[in-house]
């Protein structure tokens, strides 16, 4: 990725100072946006996966509890 990042920068070596600063700023924002985008996508997917994992644990605990209750009342009667 660094190679492709440097190429437009190399082309700017011949441009006036202001234009270079603007272009560098634009490239940085562009790149930052990409990173944030990827982060957001992964965060959302992971968050949902975690929600599912927690629900799974809750369900297992509930099942255990109920099975114990069924066995207990089975033993009593």
């Amino acid at each position: 990725m660094t190679v492709h990042f440097l190429m437009p920068l190399a082309a700017l070596l011949q441009a006036p100072d202001d234009a270079i600063r603007d272009e560098i700023g634009r490239l940085q924002r562009n790149f930052q946006g990409l990173i944030w985008g990827f982060v957001a996508a992964w965060v959302i997917l992971m968050a949902y996966t975690l929600m599912i994992v927690f629900r799974e644990r809750k369900i297992r605990r509930e099942m255990e509890r109920l099975k114990n209750m069924v066995e207990d009342s089975g033993k009593k009667s």
């Binding site: 990725m1 946006g33 990409l34 985008g37 996508a41 997917l45 099942m63 069924v70 009667s77």
Partner: protein
């Protein structure tokens, strides 16, 4: 057996996604938009997966109404809920993309707006389910709503597209510049990876829904004793 299938799919999805991260970083830039265009590798597959999910939800809803088998109801919930997560990915990446390219967090672009309406529709589906307690009624009404929602989706898409193209506002529509040719393969692989991930999450959620129904049944039995 099913456990192994799921783990296999999950591993495959993970491998594909990681490999793609590498591939994505090495691909040449897109001319007009620069680096940010790479976001399309998540943005588009997430939307496609979510739309496929909603089609599955429709079929599951119809099958439930016809066959009264609760498996289809569980499938509908699972697919819709996972679809919400994937649509959220689509919306958030789309918003970030819009911010970088157009300078605004939200532009009333036809595809993004349709995605937002779909998100709201399917969130409504989940809210309806929460409001109904009796399982058969919940499944039936949710299925009816799902059928209405799915019928609405294409109409929403076309109407918003007409709105945006026939009544141009001072906003922008051409999000896609040229699509570089060698990106297609990577895009397709990411699509497959996300589809696999979607399928795995759906299967787990489906099983949870069926387990929840068993819990409710056990609870009723225990209280009856």
């Amino acid at each position: 057996m099913r456990q192994k299938v799921m783990i296999g799919m999950l591993a495959l999805a993970a491998i594909l996604l990681v490999r793609n991260l590498y591939v994505i970083s090495v691909l040449p830039d897109e001319v007009n938009q620069g680096q940010i265009f790479r976001i399309i590798f998540f943005h588009v597959p997430a939307a496609v997966a979510a739309m496929t999910g909603s089609a599955v939800a429709l079929i599951a809803s119809v099958l439930f109404l016809v066959k009264k088998d609760f498996f289809y109801d569980s499938l509908a919930v699972a697919v819709t809920e996972v679809g919400l997560a994937f649509l959220a990915v689509n919306l958030v990446t789309g918003s970030i993309w819009a911010r970088v390219i157009w300078g605004v967090w939200w532009a009333w672009d036809p595809r993004l707006t349709s995605a937002l309406v779909c998100w709201v529709l399917y969130a409504g589906y989940l809210i309806l389910r929460q409001a109904l307690e009796e399982p058969t009624q919940r499944a039936t009404f949710a299925a009816v709503y799902s059928i209405f929602a799915f019928t609405d989706v294409p109409i929403v898409y076309f109407s918003i597209r007409w709105w945006r193209t026939l009544h141009p506002q001072p906003v922008f529509f051409n999000k896609n510049g040229s699509f570089p040719a060698d990106w297609s393969a990577a895009l397709r692989l990411n699509l497959i990876a996300l589809f696999l991930f979607y399928a795995v999450l759906t299967m787990i959620r489906l099983r949870q829904e069926q387990a929840q129904r068993e819990i409710d049944y056990l609870r009723r039995t225990v209280h009856a004793m």
